[in-house]
């Protein structure tokens, strides 16, 4: 099997850059959310559609990014 529908989107969440990378492997869509720089994955999700996988990963990422304290 191969990854299909690969796409990357960049957006800003809670004042931080966020990258959503999503694709389909087999029957599932996966989405990983990373904080661009440093580039660490901070959330992931899988679902039966690309939009839903992205929405779920974004939701989790948002929650985590909101907890990041600027000093």
């Amino acid at each position: 099997m191969k990854a299909e529908y690969y796409r990357e989107r960049r957006l800003e969440v809670a004042g931080w850059p966020l990258r959503l990378t999503s694709y389909k492997i087999g029957e599932k869509f996966y989405c990983h959310a990373d904080n661009v720089s440093p580039g660490a994955n901070i959330a992931r999700a899988s679902a039966s559609s690309q939009e839903e996988a992205e929405r779920l990963a974004l939701e989790k990422a948002q929650e985590r990014l909101q907890r990041t304290v600027r000093r």
Binding site: M1, E4, Y6, I25, N35, N41, S46, A61, R70, R71
Partner: protein, 286 residues
């Protein structure tokens, strides 16, 4: 200018041609350990950085015995060609590569572009987890010339004779945040080791996850005064991003004296009485 050691990088097409070569062992090492189970390169096994690539009791890298055990169980012999790859531009693949070199593995390589490039190119993936035949592995004594400890970082900070390179994000370097956005804080203070330059690790990579050219890398580090003429100590938060920079400086640019200070900011930033600098670094003196 070419990479100093081009043999340590393999392109995706090479892996496609060698994934079932009995002389080659593919190993995926991800930041997100679940990624492997979505699908991985056929024939690849996975190592978990948080349990298989460190001592889980005390804070340390693998002992020689534990390293030998991992290699043997992974079907890796002393002559096996090991190709490492992972997510986040090979972030933790570089951590594994660094430990393999500490224990003297001769033929370790990295898949240029890592998991990201493989997936983006639509290459074959499988959910099948291989179970390699155990091999016999004899590790060399740890080569600690590749590793920096706290006293070496302190000496470099106090008496500039080595280049300290902080590879974290600018916001971590200045002390605006204590950990990468979205991750838990793991230190008591923010900022950086006095005298360090800030060259984020990810600047060494292109958008597709591959490494930048040797000329681009030389210019990137050279602009911050890091040209290989002095020993270099790279550090980050827990030592894994800095192993990526260590790989770039040691193997792609060929700088001779490069060490990874894996104690990094979680050691220095928690140390009672340690000097801390905040804000941006001073201009590089010509």
């Amino acid at each position: 200018m070419n990479y100093a050691h081009p043999e340590v990088l393999v392109p995706t097409v090479w892996v496609e041609q060698h994934w079932n070569d009995p002389q080659v062992r593919l190993v995926e090492v991800d930041v997100d350990a679940n990624a492997y189970h979505e699908g991985h390169i056929p024939g690849a096994i996975a190592w978990a950085w948080s349990s298989q690539l460190c001592d889980t009791t005390r804070r340390d890298i693998l002992s020689r015995e534990a390293f030998e055990k991992l290699m043997s169980a992974s079907g890796i012999g002393n002559d096996t060609t090991v190709v490492l790859y992972g997510d986040s531009n090979n972030w933790f693949a570089a951590w594994a590569f660094w430990q393999m070199k500490i224990y003297g593995h001769k033929d370790a390589r990295m898949l240029n572009g890592g998991r990201k490039k493989w997936i983006a190119e639509g290459r074959d993936l499988t959910p099948a987890v291989p179970h390699p035949q155990p091999a016999h592995y004899k590790a060399a004594a740890a080569d600690l010339s590749l590793r920096a400890y706290l006293p070496q970082a302190q000496a470099a900070s106090q008496q500039p004779g080595a280049d300290l390179v902080d590879v974290r994000s600018p916001q971590e370097f200045t002390g605006e945040i204590f950990a990468p956005p979205g991750l838990p804080e793991t230190c008591q203070r923010g900022g950086h080791i006095p005298g360090a330059r800030n060259i984020p690790w990810s600047k060494a990579c292109n958008d597709d996850g591959t490494f930048k050219s040797a000329d681009e890398l030389k210019a990137l580090y050279g602009a911050e005064g890091v040209d290989g003429s002095r020993p270099v100590i790279a550090y980050c938060r827990i030592g894994e991003r800095s192993s990526h920079t260590w790989f770039v400086l040691r193997y792609l640019l060929g700088y001779k004296q490069v060490t990874n200070y894996d104690g990094s900011w979680t050691e220095w930033g928690n140390l009672v009485g340690a000097p801390v600098e905040k804000g941006v670094a001073a201009e590089v003196k010509p």
